[in-house]
């Protein structure tokens, strides 16, 4: 009898301790000595780790927590779900330019962030991307993605190609044909693929089109995919280079195989926007020989670029706006650039000597600040992206991957499938 009482008493004590331990975590925003807790949702690598610590030092009554999604697609799904649900979004949400037009349709659910402090801070076209028809600014620009070409100088050496980045830039030329021609030479000599993914080439090319999927004169109209000769021409060029000429490593970006390929000498070059530098460094840890050339096929290109938005459903909109304004100030963005390669979209940032002096140790001490600043100047076309951009681009990406990665369809079949996928969106 006594044993029974002892055992049950111990059990009750254990359960109470467990419950007390579980209940201790509190998530309320305003408790804890009047401190405000802000959450910042980002994806991939924004370069904010140290910056958030710095902000907390400068503002002792604010606690900032970062929530990182692995890819932009995941961040988009989370954003859409919680925007529709009306709650659950972080105080600051990072948004990528490819899906920004989709959420612009619900701009009333985002805070208007217009203020004198940020007037004229960004490049015109960058600020315009986040400005609604009524003139409300719903996102503060963070980075842009001016592209260079990253390459493996050690693999180039084996193929007898130049390794110095200026010589490489000269040899690579400035057109897509030149780029592919150099690739044929390389792959012919070594058998190693020239670039990682056909879809990445598509991203490079589509971002050089003024009106990839919708025309804007006289007003925005979707171009049906079967009538879209420009995109079809791009598709054909890519299939030619990746499959017929065998320059592609047949990988899907962000997949396990793609990450592994960095460690296995899977490919020699890749199109490199600023934010990709941090990704390459992470995936290619321990690999020596990466460098970046100051050139881009087609002249100039911009891939991606993000914004910080402040959802109206949040509890701490003013504090969040303050934090967002601070994070997107030129000085802070340059610090993020030094950390992860996210290139500033702020006008002052582009001309600051601090930026132009940045070098990247992993990329053979390349003057990445200078290189990317020149690449940014070379960008002449900013594509128009409407609300259906994301869905149409996904359809063409799938078509390319069916041929390049899965090898499960012929190029013509794959294109027909893309046309019917897009028709289903109606």
């Amino acid at each position: 009898m006594r044993a029974k009482v002892m055992i049950s008493a111990t059990a009750v004590a254990a359960m109470l301790t467990l419950v007390a331990g579980c209940g201790a975590d509190s998530t309320d925003n305003e408790g804890e000595d009047g401190k405000v807790t802000l959450t910042v949702a980002t994806f991939n690598e924004f370069g904010y780790d140290d910056l958030l610590d710095e902000y907390m030092d400068l503002n002792p009554d604010v606690i900032v927590k970062e929530k990182k999604a692995a890819t932009s697609d995941e961040a988009r799904e989370n954003f859409m779900t919680k925007l529709a649900a009306g709650s659950g979004l972080s105080d600051i949400e990072g948004v990528e330019v490819d899906w920004l037009p989709e959420i612009m349709e619900s701009s009333d659910l985002l805070t208007d962030l217009t203020s004198d402090e940020v007037e004229g801070r960004w490049l015109d076209w960058k600020a315009a991307q986040a400005t609604t028809g009524d003139g409300a600014l719903i996102g503060y620009g963070t980075d842009i993605g001016p592209e260079g070409v990253c390459y493996r100088s050690d693999l180039f050496k084996k193929a007898g190609l130049p390794t110095d980045r200026e010589e490489v830039a000269a040899a690579m030329g400035s057109t897509w044909d030149d780029y592919f021609a150099m690739g044929k030479e390389f792959t012919g000599k070594t058998g190693t693929p020239w670039f990682d993914s056909a879809d990445a080439i598509f991203q490079g090319m589509v971002n050089q089109q003024a009106n990839p999927f919708s025309s804007t004169e006289p007003e925005e109209t979707l171009i049906p995919l079967d009538e879209n000769t420009e995109i079809k021409a791009i598709y054909d060029t890519i299939i030619q280079a990746s499959t017929t000429d065998d320059l592609s490593a047949n990988l899907q970006q962000w997949s396990t195989d793609w990450q592994q390929a960095f460690q296995n000498d899977g490919f020699a070059t890749m199109l490199c926007p600023g934010w990709m530098l941090g990704v390459i460094e992470g995936n290619a840890e321990g690999v020596e020989g990466w460098d970046i050339a100051n050139t881009f096929p087609g002249g100039g290109g911009n891939w991606g670029g993000s914004f910080l938005t402040v959802p109206a459903q949040g509890d701490n909109v003013e504090e969040a706006q303050k934090l967002a304004a601070w994070l997107t100030a030129p000085e802070q963005q340059i610090k993020a650039f030094k950390a992860k390669g996210t290139f500033p979209s702020q006008v002052e940032g582009l001309t600051s000597p601090d930026l132009l002096g940045v070098t990247n140790a992993f990329f053979n001490d390349a003057p990445t600040g200078e290189i990317l600043a020149e690449r940014a100047k070379a960008v002449t076309v900013v594509p128009f992206k409407g609300p259906s951009y994301f869905a149409y681009r996904q359809a063409v990406t799938d078509a390319i991957n069916r041929v390049d990665v899965d090898e499960s369809a012929t190029p013509d079949e794959s294109w027909e499938q893309a046309i019917s996928d897009v028709a289903a969106l109606m």
Binding site: E77, M80, E102, Q252, Q260, S408, Q417
Partner: protein
């Protein structure tokens, strides 16, 4: 009963006795009504409206969502994928579960360790299992292809080929659920009275005959339960195929996209159309009910085929 002064108390007592059972089960039905029945009815309501993800209710359109969905080729592809994965996972899983349960039923050493051991895969989060298996099944750098190439065979396109993708996903599902079904079947097996088995031994039945003609028929109610829950779960499968690649759409040709993933893509992906997603949800519900009824009919018949022994034994064997 004569009417007297205490008849009101009698009436109260009668009400008490009659209604008490209903009041005891009412909490379950109230909760079911809120979290089960109401969403079901509301989904039906959404499915007959034009309803955007963020734009909301745009107006009644009758069954247009259903006809749109049924006309989309991707829907039928999702159905085929779902059934393929369902058959590849459920059938081997249940056969394996019965077999393992029979093995565990025997007099082993460290019985409890083995019996709890089969449940360990069930405890691991499905997303974690998905991520790990995704890496192991990677087309170029995965573990399984490395093993295949090391013995001289061609690598298999686990992500690119539909059939092998289904097999890979089915293996994830089997990994998780076999142990769970085993434990349920084991519990049922242990409830079979030992004297029936002994009577069968005395009658000269060997191990196989004992298993198929005594054990399995007596397991029939449990087998029905396990088949129906596996059907419902198998047709709704989402976690494993979604975690099978980084993008989560089911492959560039949607080769391993299941109906639930298709529903998610319609509602939250490129179409952002809740009305169509709700239509898919209701179609899936009706399909699951249909298949569950078919499975019930089949399982009652199959387990019934060796029913002579239970008819005699069930009446109470006196030895």
């Amino acid at each position: 009963m004569p009417r007297d002064a205490t008849s009101f108390r009698h009436t109260l007592n009668r009400w008490d006795v009659k209604s008490a059972p209903y009041l005891y089960v009412a909490p379950f039905f109230i909760i079911f009504g809120i979290v089960g029945l109401f969403p079901l009815v509301y989904t039906a309501y959404v499915s007959v409206h034009e309803w955007g993800l963020i734009t909301g209710n745009q107006g009644f359109i009758g069954f247009e969502n259903y006809s749109d969905v049924l006309a989309q080729e991707r829907f039928w592809q999702a159905m085929r994928n779902t059934f393929s994965i369902f058959l590849l996972s459920t059938i081997p899983q249940l056969i394996l579960a019965i077999w393992i349960a029979a093995v565990l039923d025997a007099n082993l050493r460290a019985k409890t360790f083995w019996r709890m051991g089969v449940l360990v895969p069930y405890v691991v989060a499905p997303v974690a299992v998905g991520l790990i298996f995704n890496q192991m099944f990677a087309d170029k750098s995965g573990f399984f292809n490395a093993v295949l190439t090391s013995v001289g065979m061609d690598p298999i396109g686990w992500h690119s080929d539909p059939f092998f993708a289904h097999m890979a996903i089915a293996s994830m599902v089997n990994f998780r659920w076999t142990g769970y079904n085993t434990v349920i079947l084991l519990a049922a097996m242990q409830a079979i009275p030992r004297d029936l088995i002994e009577a069968a031994v005395v009658d000269g039945a060997n191990r196989v005959q004992r298993f198929f003609r005594v054990t399995v028929p007596l397991l029939r109610p449990t087998i029905i339960f396990v088949v129906i829950t596996s059907t419902i779960g198998g047709l709704q499968i989402f976690d494993e195929p979604r975690m099978f690649d980084q993008i989560g759409l089911g492959g560039s040709d949607r080769q391993y996209m299941t109906v639930t993933m298709y529903l998610y893509e319609l509602g939250w992906g490129s179409q952002r159309d809740f009305g169509r997603a709700a239509a898919v949800a209701w179609i899936l519900f009706l399909v699951i009910v249909l298949i569950a009824v078919v499975n019930l009919a089949l399982t009652r018949r199959i387990a019934d085929s060796g029913a002579h022994v239970p008819e005699r034994a069930g009446k109470g064997v006196q030895s």
